[in-house]
């Protein structure tokens, strides 16, 4: 029997009013502006853009404010907004080799052409709380050196020149788009990468860590990690040529993995690839490790039954909006469902009681 229930409107309205008040917090404290969030919590903004799958720092900052800093809630807001946007088209693939790098490091070649450029990194900090930040104060300007304007070559190019790393054949095949068609398995590498780049950072990190701990062991070197801005170019039909329609900050990670060779491939290095919106270093390295683990099939490696090798498992659980939607819905009213379960258990109890009673009597 289905029973329609109404009610609770007033309670919901009041709950939302209180939410707005709690979001604001004490009015003795200055209200946060969108610009403050965008400028001073930029890594949170980057995460919301990456997993919200929409590059727009102001929008991500607004979402963080509205969500009271709950980043998954903020990602949800951005995803919802994204679905309202008409799709103008697809860009030409970005040229990460032309990136204006703020940071570019290689863990494999000390003297890589272009050098080891640290950028504004947390690496080599002591992870001690800095109580100076609790007080307001001027920040001294960072030192400058002679800037370079020529592009920094990819590390993989050098290995490729020697023929010792697996080739990455260029193609112009139209990739699948999981915002347009539901995911089907096997997904193929382009769809896997789309899914991983918008996947939950914690989930992708955990999967990557599992490969490092020995589940589908694949010792990865960070061949290269680079962060910086690239131009986004799109063909404009009414113009008849392509123009730059903007620029995005990206983090790119390419891992170099040892590979003993298989029936079809000679011994060589193979690659894992991570590319994420914003300065998202941890996510990008994790993405590259998981990408590499998922490539076992195309490289003719053994399926060790490790979670990170299971495409369907990884891709079906990487999306935190799908996950939280399904998880959190169970807190919403299930009165009728539960009533049915309650009836069932009571009935079973009665039957069980009916059976056990004579036995107990005999003892």
């Amino acid at each position: 029997m289905y029973v329609a229930v109404k009610g609770g409107e007033k309670a919901i309205e009041n709950a939302h009013a209180w939410l707005a008040e709690e979001r604001r917090g004490s009015t003795d404290v200055t209200e946060l502006s969108i610009a403050q969030i965008r400028e001073q919590l930029s890594l949170a903004v980057n995460r919301v853009m990456a997993e919200g799958s929409l590059f727009d720092p102001d929008l991500a900052a607004l979402a963080i404010k509205q969500a009271r800093g709950d980043l998954i809630e903020a990602i949800f807001l951005v995803r919802a907004y994204r679905t309202t946007l008409p799709r103008f088209g697809y860009s030409n693939p970005v040229e990460t080799g032309q990136m204006a790098c703020d940071r570019r490091i290689s863990a494999t070649f000390k003297d890589a052409p272009g050098g080891q450029v640290l950028g504004s990194t947390f690496d080599y900090t002591h992870r001690l709380l800095d109580f100076k930040l609790a007080a307001e104060g001027e920040v001294p300007l960072a030192p400058e050196s002679q800037p370079r304007s020529e592009p920094i070559p990819h590390i993989a190019d050098f290995l490729q020149d020697e023929g010792i790393i697996q080739d990455e054949p260029t193609s112009d095949a139209t990739p699948g788009d999981l915002t347009r068609e539901p995911m089907e398995f096997p997904a193929g590498r382009p769809l896997r990468l789309q899914s991983l780049t918008r996947g939950d950072e914690g989930f992708v990190l955990g999967m990557a860590y599992s490969t490092q701990r020995g589940y589908a062991r694949n010792h990865a070197f960070v061949g290269e990690l680079r962060i910086g801005k690239v131009a986004v170019e799109m063909d404009i039909p009414e113009l008849g040529f392509a123009i730059e329609i903007g620029e995005v900050e990206l983090t790119e990670c390419e891992t170099v993995n040892q590979f003993k060779g298989s029936k079809t491939e000679p011994p060589q290095f193979t690659r894992g690839y991570g590319l994420v919106f914003g300065q998202s270093e941890r996510k990008s390295i994790a993405m590259a490790l998981v990408d590499r683990a998922l490539r076992w099939g195309e490289l003719g490696e053994e399926n060790l039954g490790a979670p990170a090798q299971d495409e369907e498992f990884v891709l079906s659980h990487a999306d935190n909006i799908q996950a939280t939607g399904f998880l959190e819905h169970i807190k919403l009213p299930h009165y009728v469902d539960f009533q049915a379960e309650l009836e069932l258990v009571r009935k079973l109890r009665l039957e069980t009681d009916g059976r056990t009673t004579p036995q107990e009597a005999a003892e």
Binding site: F55, P93, Q116, V117, T179, R189, I245, G246, E252
Partner: protein, 152 residues
């Protein structure tokens, strides 16, 4: 396509790309300073949308979809019949309108004035910001030196 159209297209690509990436406040400031804003009619009024950005596997391989970027576009026509397109990053309809007006004007005899008063200074200011970042990055480049292990 003749060489002449190629050059014309490439110049137009340059200013449209610059306008797309321009910080809105700087563009608006230069535009306001120039004055003499022409009258126009909309052919397509400003519309906010998304463009799916693509990357390539390994940076050079097969394309894949990375995520979207917000873009605002519009098309207008000046009274002399010149058509301008605005395609700008972000959600500002006002910025798209100014970009389309500049695109139209850059194809008229006002081009030199618009270039001198908006395009060139805008390009210089954006380049200065880019160079300042590159200079800070350059200062974080590691200079390795070998530790001497002593005279044995």
């Amino acid at each position: 396509m003749t060489d002449q159209t190629k050059t014309a297209n490439s110049e137009r690509q340059d200013w449209m790309g610059l306008l797309a990436r321009a910080p809105e406040d700087v563009l608006m400031e230069l535009w306001a300073e120039m004055g003499g804003h022409p009258r126009f009619e909309w052919l397509r009024s400003p519309e906010v949308g998304g463009v799916m950005v693509r990357g390539r596997t390994g940076g050079t391989g097969a394309p894949f979809n990375l995520g979207e970027v917000t873009v605002t576009r519009c098309t207008l026509v000046l009274q002399d019949g010149m058509v301008g397109h605005g395609y700008v990053q972000g959600r500002s309809k006002r910025k798209a309108e100014v970009a389309a007006l500049i695109d139209a004007l850059m194809q008229t005899e006002s081009a030199d004035e618009v270039r001198a008063r908006v395009i060139t200074p805008l390009g210089c200011r954006m380049q200065a910001v880019k160079t300042a970042r590159a200079a800070k990055a350059a200062a974080t480049k590691v200079e390795f030196f070998t530790m001497a292990r002593g005279e044995n």
